[in-house]
């Protein structure tokens, strides 16, 4: 088994242009990280609130280690509504048991917002003496004894679409529902499986990863999409697409790459198959706290409406300030 130091690990996480996927290179490290506490594999609890399950589905698209390996050999996924065999009380007991038995050892993952409107009645999970228990209470209780808390996806990280104006359910991001405990945000709509697994590995092997001002791991969210984009030369040369399916930079078609910090252009999605701009579609800035209210309209050039500081001079290379790296 290879032993990487933290610096080397970070280099690999960033080496998205390589032929191998992140997870390929990290296999031994993932195994080492997950060899963790008693009974073998580190326990993970995955809660879904005001969510669409897209981030869970995205995790299932993990390539290498493929998700079968993750489930059987790497983590002990104690609770996940979409995957677990148990149902009802049997499932809810697992949640309580994990909290009692692995106090301070389990990783809590939150997918979706925590709806606070209508006293939390917009999302409930399980019963307590025939009375439904709110999702907000579960997040608060389970976070109290977690080793670490990960907000997976833009809804859990920043509120995302459910919290978009007028936020009908009073949806909160996970960080506002865990009594001030630290939360690592892994946004994206959905989040990339590498971002999720890579962060978990870092957490278990090397402790807390370096985070930016929005609580995102800098290894994955440290660079601007506009700087990494394969169409950046088009922007610099002033070659702009005038229709989606044409050639050229999509900036004038509404691309929000210049205000967005993630490694999508290099990492790509679905086994490096493609990504949004690769499919001629403008970046909608789904990893930013501004999504969607301030990255809309998706098909309108950002400088025409963008908040102060996002004005981009046309036809000229620019260096934008953002993130915290």
């Amino acid at each position: 088994m290879r032993n990487l130091d933290r610096r080397e690990f970070l280099r690999l996480c960033g080496a998205t242009g390589a032929a191998l996927s992140l997870a390929d290179m990290l296999k031994p490290e993932i195994a080492a990280a997950f060899a963790g506490p008693k009974e073998g594999k580190p326990p993970v609890v995955w809660l879904q609130g005001g969510a669409c399950s897209g981030c869970s589905v995205s995790l299932l698209n993990s390539v290498s280690p493929d998700i079968a390996e993750v489930l059987t050999g790497v983590i002990s996924l104690k609770f996940h509504q979409t995957l677990m065999s148990a149902a009802g009380d049997q499932a809810m007991n697992v949640l309580q048991e994990t909290r009692n038995k692995y106090r301070g050892e389990y990783v809590l993952i939150v997918e979706g917002t925590v709806p606070a409107g209508a006293s939390g009645k917009y999302a409930t999970l399980g019963e307590n003496g025939e009375k439904p228990v709110t999702f907000a209470k579960w997040v608060k209780d389970m976070s109290a004894d977690a080793k670490a808390i990960l907000a997976v996806g833009s809804c859990a990280s920043f509120g995302g679409v459910p919290a978009a104006s007028p936020n009908p359910t009073g949806s909160l991001p996970a960080s506002k529902a865990v009594n001030g405990k630290p939360v690592i945000n892994i946004p994206g709509c959905p989040s990339h499986p590498d971002w999720v697994l890579g962060t978990v590995v870092h957490l278990l092997n090397y402790g807390m990863p370096r985070l930016d001002a929005h609580g995102r791991p800098v290894i994955f969210f440290g660079k601007c999409i506009h700087d990494l984009c394969e169409r950046r030369p088009d922007f610099d040369l002033g070659v702009f697409a005038t229709r989606l399916s044409g050639n050229g930079c999509l900036y004038k078609m509404g691309c929000k790459g210049p205000m967005t910090f993630a490694d999508c252009p290099q990492r790509m999605f679905n086994n490096k198959t493609n990504w949004c701009v690769g499919a001629n579609s403008p970046c909608i800035s789904c990893v930013q706290p501004e999504f969607p209210d301030h990255s809309e309209p998706f098909f309108v050039k950002m400088a025409e409406y963008g908040p102060e500081g996002t004005q981009v001079p046309q036809n000229r290379p620019v260096r934008l300030i953002g993130g915290s790296n």
């Binding site: 299932l60 509504q81 979409t82 917009y122 399980g126 679409v161 459910p162 009908p168 198959t273 001629n280």
Partner: protein, 465 residues
């Protein structure tokens, strides 16, 4: 009499709870409850209509291509956009690819653990015990396919991402067509992936469904249904005159034409106020979390006042591909047959694509317009309705498959399809209510879709469907 509450019902998308009362071994009372609510329509109001294609996908991470399709159709209609041939074919391929992903995920990852015992580790342990019927050899073989299918469903998404950019939540279905064009590389890559997925469907998936159907033959008599409904989907020609899946209504043993004007939503037992009921084209939905007598966030759509089931079985029935019966096992069999049919149709669409041909037309958002997009999601009939005013969305309404299937009681005391399927079901072991979860899973419920509703509380103008 024993009351059994299963909350959450796991292995489905979203938040579902079921309460059944078992009397002398049979279900005497059933309540199916949607326990999560977000309010998508309210969020959509006031935004750029073109953004709806991306935003409505976020209703559901399992059926994003399906919502994108319905939304794009509604906008095409409102903007009078004529989608070019390649745009039509690429949309069909993306939606079709997600059907394959959805059906395979449903059978192996959501449903199979009800019939087959998986390794005794989390997340497969603990589980209900008792009625698992396969011998060790068959059980192990099927359990192995659970893991093999994880790879195959991933490849289905890779196929969609060839043309969609990424999955879930694809980027290239837009009003007026698609943004990704059919490059030779993309077509070739899609062919390779489709070949691999097709082989799995035709060999492994089909055989496994046969094995389950033989081993649990009694489920052809459990979870019965009555009426079926489809909107039709997958246009086979430019004008959309012919569809791969037919539109229709099956009731009292007869098939008849669908009249969308007869669809209405009932909210007598849902957490919404009284003005929230009526035809989907003229209701004004407002949540009421404390409403007396209500028990679900799911509304109760009815056709001509009667209860209808939607989904793959309804589609295969309407097309005459499968008419074995309407039961838990029939749903599983029909879903597999549809996957086979879809893989075949997709091969044809790939052949029809013109390399680098036009895939989109420029769309101008009208100042004032209305549009309807009716299609079929993997889980059944899906409709989006949009009203544009001042170049912005004034009103958006979506009626989704699981709202039909998981609907609660209506004002005339009729149960929704899942509740109906549960009534009378034999549950010999109340501590291990396997028959209950098997019947629910046969519908492949998707609750994030079913409970997304809430429109602004203000007068609504009429919609033309």
């Amino acid at each position: 009499m024993r009351r059994i509450v299963i909350d959450p019902v796991t292995r489905l998308e979203g938040h579902l709870k079921v309460m059944v009362e078992v009397d002398e071994g049979k279900v005497a009372k059933a309540e199916v409850v949607g326990t999560m609510f977000r309010g998508f329509e309210k969020i959509l109001s006031g935004r750029d209509p073109r953004d709806a294609v991306f935003l409505t996908q976020r209703i559901c991470g399992v059926c994003p291509a399906d919502h994108a399709t319905a939304s794009a159709l509604a906008l095409d209609d409102a903007c009078k956009a004529e989608v070019p041939e390649n745009g039509r074919l690429l949309r069909n391929l993306m939606l079709g690819g997600n059907y394959l992903q959805s059906h395979i995920t449903h059978f192996y990852h959501l449903s199979l653990p009800d019939y087959v015992q998986l390794p005794e580790i989390a997340p497969f342990s603990p589980h209900y015990t008792g009625d698992f019927r396969f011998n060790k050899e068959t059980n192990e073989k099927m359990a192995g396919h659970y893991f093999q299918a994880l790879n195959i469903r991933r490849k289905c998404h890779e196929l969609v991402a060839q043309f969609g950019g990424k999955m879930p939540h694809l980027a290239s279905i837009v009003a007026g067509g698609t943004s990704q064009n059919a490059t030779p590389f993309r077509i070739k890559s899609a062919r390779v992936l489709l070949g691999e997925v097709s082989e799995f469907i035709n060999t492994v998936y089909e055989e496994d469904v046969r094995t389950i159907a033989a081993g649990y033959h009694d489920y052809f008599n459990a979870g019965k249904g009555m009426n079926l409904l489809t909107y039709g989907a997958f246009p086979m020609d430019a004008g959309g005159r012919a569809n791969l899946f037919a539109r229709g209504v099956y009731a009292d043993g007869k098939i008849s034409a669908l009249d969308p004007a007869r669809i209405s939503e009932d909210v007598s037992h849902s957490w919404y106020n009284a003005s929230s009921g009526g035809p989907p084209t003229e209701i004004s939905t407002q949540a009421d979390a404390d409403k007396q007598g209500a028990y679900s966030w799911v509304k109760a759509p009815r056709y001509d006042g009667a209860v209808f089931e939607v989904g793959p079985l309804a589609r295969m029935w309407m097309n005459g591909v499968y008419r074995g019966g309407i039961s838990a096992m029939d749903r599983i069999v029909a879903r597999m047959m549809e996957a086979k049919m879809m893989a075949g149709a997709m091969t044809g669409w790939l052949d029809e694509l013109k390399e680098d041909g036009e895939c989109e037309v420029a769309v101008e958002v009208p100042y004032e317009a209305e549009g309807a997009g009716m299609t079929e999601a993997a889980r059944g009939a899906l409709g989006h309705w949009v009203k544009i005013r001042g170049g912005r969305i004034e009103r958006y309404e979506a009626v989704v498959p699981t709202t039909w299937n998981a609907s609660p009681l209506d004002a005339s005391g009729q149960h929704g399809p899942i509740e109906t399927a549960l009534l009378g079901l034999e549950v010999p072991d109340a501590d291990n209510p396997l028959p209950v979860v098997r019947v629910i899973h046969s519908f492949d419920p998707c609750l994030a879709c079913a409970v997304h509703l809430i429109a602004p509380n203000r007068p609504m103008s009429r919609f033309r469907i």
